[in-house]
Amino acid sequence: MPQDFNLEQFKVTYFEECHELLASAEEQLTLLQQELGNVDVEVLHAIFRCVHSIKGGAGAFNYTDLIDFTHSFETLLDKLREGEIPISMPLVDVLFEATDILSSLVQRAQDNQESDPEVWKKTKQKLESYLKEGGVKKTSPSDHRDGIADYDLTPEEEEEQGWGLFIDLEEDEPASELPPEPLENFKPTYKIKFVPEPHLLRFANEPLLLARELSSLGKYVAHADLSRLDDLDQINPDEAYLSWIFELETDASKGAIEEVFEFVVDDCELVIEKIGGEAVTNTATTKEAQGVKAQKPEPRTARASRIRKEVELHTPTQPAPPQAAQLPDTAEDRPPVTETLNDGSKSLLKQQAKISSIRVELDRVDRLVNMVGELVISQAMLRQQVENLIPEDSHVMAQGFEDLSAHTRELQESVMAIRMQPVKSVFARIPRMVRELSARLGKKVDLITQGEMTEVDKTVIEQLMDPLTHMIRNSLDHGIETQEERAKSGKPERAAIKLSAEHRSGRIQIEVSDDGKGINRQRIVEKAVQKGLLSSDHDLSDEEIDNLIFAPGFSTADEVSDVSGRGVGMDVVRRNIVSLGGRISVFSTPGEGTRFLMSLPLTLAVLDGMIIRCGQEKYIIPLTSVIESIHPIAEELQPLVNGAMMVSMRGQYIRIVNLYKLFNIKGAVTDAAQGLVVIVETERYGHVGILVDELLGQQQVVIKSLEENYDPIDGVAAATILGNGKVALILDVDGLADMEHGSDRHRTFANLEQQVLLTGEKAHGHD
């Protein structure tokens, strides 16, 4: 059934909307909590609107649990904003809890699952107990406690829910209270009195432009008032002498009209009043000599007496006659005569008046991003071909290519900007977590966030939440001391955790720092030795010791808590960050605090790569992992007994990854002394050197999935397309190190065969 189909579509939008609303509600709740003593009623309004909007949609789709719950929630919020119930800390906690429940109810509705009434009824009762405590009798339909069966919607309410689906309703006002407007074809008329101050023109304001702007809102009649006009020889051309009265018929709200005059409002006298939408007679008039051309429907009878002159420019075609009889007498059809700006049920109109953003499926954006990637590649291909042309032809083309590449670069940036989102969406969830955890751990912590509007690609945002959560938890649990410890070391009672984001050299840098006790290096070393990660006669620098916390399975918490300390935390954090092409480091000063620094690429769609050659094959190594490249001399190369080759670089032994061997490449340099060793940083093996034939250059490449049409391949992270149109593989340095160090299962038959041929014996560790 087509209706069903449509409903499904709306549901998708509804749930998307719900998640945003919930996030926003939570944000506002956090705000509420922070300024508990001095609550801004706007915050309460905002939360109310979120809950109300969710309820509206739930009504339309008949999610009874949701309706029931949101209703109680909303009623409480309503009382709160009315000031009938005082706000207290426990109450805010209940509100948080209710938001959680709401979120899970929404999730269940989305998954088409039945919700367990036990869970939400309890919270609902809590909400309702506050209502009773507040001594206020609940109003209206909330009297049916459990019964959604008898949740009868008034027609108005249904209407509102239908229309209000995805809109924040400003007021919960039944639409029926509004005076019905009888005439469908007539829009409300505003009388706008606009009297510029004499100096208005000096600020480069032009009344004509304002008039034109007004005409975009609807039909209007302008009446010029020339009374201030001096004699011609007295006129100062810099001064404004004229004033006007506009009579505007429009659907737009008063706010929209005010917006037109936004820039001149301080330099003029402006009166906007609504004069109803009654029928008007058919006359055509235009305003005076300045020649503001506007199609005017009839002026109204009552008019300022000062109008002296009306010039008739247009005779509009017959305006629609009144059709009062045809109009159904329902409230939603007409904007009310009264001021509409804050009227909830009319905010649909308001929204239409100023849409500044649109909702687009991510798929479409992704497609766009892909196409731009293609464009960049095609351009690189063309350019390469042009270089082979004879010079006199090519220089004209070269010029064209300069322009083209400037445009494509800009296009690429704009397209990528579409997917950019402020990190706020991730940061917004942190305060809540800090609040809950600090309460549980009995620590007093302030969270300071900075740079939350810093933008980064959506794909990166999605991957950011987990690592960030881990790090904050870690800081709270391990970093921040207990109250007593803080008191003893003379630190302020309240600890601070700082979370900040900023753009730095084409990457986003995220910092998490605390003013806790810092990393206990001695314990780290003990632990590492105990776990066999380190020999007891190590000579690691402080910084290296600090970085041991990223080692797999490393946790120094004395007891495993439910907050952190399972020993997977920082290891996972690092892996997540690295898999995003980022890096993480830690800086710690004992007694003063710890600072984690993450640096991430702004997007996962392109990366800077180093093109290398091995045999006839070209590969890309992500630039973020490259440390340096060296030409080792024969003396620096040391074979190990297991067949591995080490290169010593400034006293450090680095294992060589024989790319030609791992990838079975023929005709490649096999002696490290003849080739080039690219030192890369890996997650699990530290620095390793990849043996290649030569470096070919550095280039930004568009990342293409290999897995889309084929299976994953060891040692290959993805693919890209080079300027010649050929596919090149992007190497996965960790995977390669894995293969080199690695277990037999990474070795294929062919590799083993080749090793037999090369060395005359099977390499140790592979049999």
């Binding site: 079975n664 391949i713 693919a719 593989l729």
Partner: protein, 180 residues
């Protein structure tokens, strides 16, 4: 000529387009590998293009000839001759890659030439006789005779099923082992 049970002589208007009166008919694109002729369902075919140099993927079976850039999509190319155990194709510009869609994936099949489009009714299909050769033949969905030539119809979904690829790898490795 195709002979059928009904004894109808199809109107072979110079080509081998056959229109069957009864039952469902399918169209196949036929191609050759050496002397052998094969057909794939025309609905699976997305594109036919000349062979271009591919980028080799490391540590993949021999019949996996690497990947190429098909307007921005990375498409793996399979050497069908090699897949059938008849050795690597010496690919030249005259060789043809047929791009087929298998489930959600696009794959390319390297063949010698593309010869024709044939229309085949269900009742013209003959079962594939059980072969005694140790070769995986589940991907042959039937045989059909066109102008006296036998065309083996391929089921691409079975051809690129992971198990059958594994089987192919095993065969390939066995073959390599034999050579040594």
């Amino acid at each position: 000529m195709v002979t059928t049970d009904t004894g109808l002589t199809p109107q072979a208007s110079g080509s081998d387009e056959l229109v069957m009166q009864e039952d469902q008919v399918d169209q196949y694109i036929t191609f050759t590998i050496g002397e052998e002729e094969y057909g794939v369902d025309i609905m699976a075919v997305r594109e036919i293009k000349a062979w271009t140099e591919t980028t080799h993927l490391p540590n993949t079976p021999e019949f996996m000839r690497g990947v190429l850039n098909l307007r921005g999509t990375i498409v793996p190319i399979f050497d069908l001759r090699c897949r059938f155990g008849m050795g690597l194709t010496e690919a030249t510009k005259m060789h043809v890659v047929i791009i087929v869609r298998v489930e959600d994936r696009m794959v390319g099949v390297l063949v010698d030439t593309v010869s024709d489009i044939i229309t085949v009714g269900q009742n013209q299909l003959q079962q594939v006789p059980k072969m005694d050769r140790n070769i995986d033949d589940e991907y042959l969905s039937g045989l059909v005779t066109v102008e006296g030539r036998m065309v083996a119809l391929l089921d691409v979904e079975l051809l690129f099923k992971p198990q059958s690829i594994d089987h192919g790898i095993a065969l390939g490795e066995a073959a390599v082992g034999d050579q040594n």
